[in-house]
Symmetry: C2
């Protein structure tokens, strides 16, 4: 807590009303129920959980997830891995490509640092050039760098084509003694948000078929596939039930986006509660609308605008610093309005701290201030 | 420079190629031309310039603008004012409503602090309740707090109706000895982005008519109006030419959004250059597209996606950490791609530092690292 500003440490033990606005607030009770639900699911389905820490960017929450059974966390950026490692997270997988030689040196240094702590760093690749550069950076490394080959299972972003294209990459990895082939990265991000269950099932059937085809091609070439990792909070039951995925990367489950709530639920998949809120306040009011002090510098809008929590009000974009609230009854000047962000990940990235509240948003008490250690960790 | 991380101070003097990606880079030559163009315009039109520092959130750039003739800067948040004041900016106007009593205490403390430095703090109000709360916080204050009354000139966000409604507010301000009526806040934000010049002219004609009507009502009630302040980078010529505006608040001119470039230019208004870029790098490539390492955690997308600078490539959203680039010829793995952000203000807010380059993006040298002092200053 020593690195927190005084106005935040002073909040601990105070009522929710003392939290200045706008602020990002965690309903700790809801978050812990989400945590327990996902941990129980992973145990029940005998699948490893490696939540994506790109969502919360917090070492405290990563360690909480690992204490509840997660094997480690994923990140997307080298700087995220460094920030979490600096605060005690020792099992990290960069589920993304790193190409810049200077950055690959940092990856290798971090791998050595984590290995010394009995931890582990893994990284994804999707090109021969990427492997060559990684191997060059790892030259002389005394530990194995765990390397996963990313295949494109429908996201149409990074990844090689499923099937034989992956074989050449794994063969190249095998030629470098510092590198160890650790499995396949196979994630279909867009499928998480397909609205109907039927669409999500169809998409993940194709994903699983792509994975099976790739595993078969690798096995035929003499390469065992130690792990298939992927899945998100919208579809993880489908990947878990497929029998081919050994590890789930779902991250949003902990806070639950407003956007995910628009999905038709899968009755067989556990449900999660919204646990992350923007506390805002009315700073201007007239007959037609109220204006709150939270705009898109307080919450990301890539997955749509926030919803107003617990009240029949609509939130419209009022720019960087303002939100326009309409509905009846309108909140009065000074009144608190709670918002549910459309997308947690880039929303958390706008804040330095998350304020953890125990006992609900109405009558609760501030219990904990959680630093967003990897906020702005872009490189 | 003492508060900069070593990997950034080490960049100074190095070639552009040494800047790790993604990073926010200023073309200092272009920025300085924009700075000089706007300063010359304000002198020529005998209008004060008080640029909106919500855009760059940097004390260094605020002081640069003031050295070029600006009287001070605007901000939207108390915490922004505090962050800039902490780094030597002494003339600040919070062009927004503050309602929370705890925050109003901070406003008053800052006013006292700046007055002691021969500086000044001003703030906007748009309600009787707001004035009462402000006066309560300022009780016993030894200096005058400069208060501007915000009128709604078409933005439909904050502000009282133009005309007689403003009179009651000014009368209330006049009853509080710690408060001093300093003028009218009249800004039409949406009009900045109306695409045709005709639309912008029509909107600002209405704005000016609303302002005149309000000034007349105040004068009829015996209240002089010391200042009318407002305008943005899309329309400032129109406000300057109106004869009623004494101060322009344009901020984007310094960096110039991609979005503003979509406006039909006003031949009578000076033009500005893009001076802010996201440096990104290709981390994955296939036959159909390349993937760069800058997604919407690197740049805001509220005003649309970034444009690719200097190349016939399209940028599509690839999520928080990725951008999908299409076109011919596709950039190769590892190649640099420069992006022009859609909206500078929330883009800058995603970064801790701006990297100032002299001599162009191709062959230039890093000259300066500029801290985004008020990044994340939300309250």
């Amino acid at each position: 807590m020593m690195d927190l500003p005084a106005h935040l440490t002073g909040l601990i033990g105070q009522a929710v009303g003392a939290i200045d606005t706008p602020a990002l607030v965690i309903d700790l009770d809801a978050m812990e129920r989400n945590l327990a639900t996902m941990a129980a699911f992973a145990r029940q389905h005998q699948v490893r959980l490696r939540p994506h820490a790109k969502m919360h960017k917090s070492a405290t929450l990563a360690r909480l997830q690992m204490a509840a059974g997660a094997v480690g966390v994923c990140v997307q950026k080298t700087a995220e891995a460094e920030a979490l490692a600096a605060h005690g997270v020792s099992n990290i997988y960069i589920s993304n490509q790193v190409i810049a030689p200077a950055k690959l040196k940092r990856v290798v240094a971090l791998a050595q640092q984590l290995a010394a702590l009995n931890g582990q760093l893994a990284i994804a690749v999707d090109s021969l050039e990427g492997i060559t550069r990684l191997a060059a950076a790892a030259h002389g490394l005394s530990v194995h760098l765990h390397v996963l080959v990313e295949i494109d299972v429908g996201q149409a972003r990074c990844g090689v084509h499923p099937g034989p294209a992956a074989v050449a990459l794994v063969q190249t990895i095998a030629r470098h003694p510092q590198l160890q082939f650790a499995g396949l990265q196979a994630y279909h991000g867009r499928a998480q948000h397909f609205r109907t269950l039927a669409e999500r099932r169809t998409a993940i059937e194709q994903v699983v078929s792509d994975v099976r085809r790739t595993v078969a091609a690798l096995q035929a070439a003499g390469h065992a596939v130690p792990l298939v990792t992927g899945a998100g909070s919208g579809t993880f039951l489908l990947e878990a039930a497929s029998g081919v995925y050994g590890e789930l990367q779902a991250g949003s489950y902990l806070f639950m986006d407003r956007d995910y709530a628009s999905n038709e639920p899968d009755p067989a998949q556990p449900q999660f509660e919204h646990a992350l809120f923007v506390k805002s306040q009315v700073i201007s009011a007239c007959a037609s609308h109220a204006v709150v002090d939270a705009g898109h510098k307080s919450h990301a809008i890539d997955s749509g605008l926030p919803a107003v929590h617990g009240r029949a009000l609509d939130y419209a974009n009022g720019g960087d610093e303002h939100g326009i609230v309409r509905g009846k009854p309108l909140p009065a000047l000074g009144e608190t309005v709670w918002l549910i962000p459309g997308h947690c990940d880039p929303t958390v990235n706008l804040h330095d701290h998350l304020i953890g509240v125990r006992g609900g948003l109405q009558h609760g008490t501030v219990e904990q201030i959680i630093r967003v250690d990897a906020r702005g960790a872009l490189t």
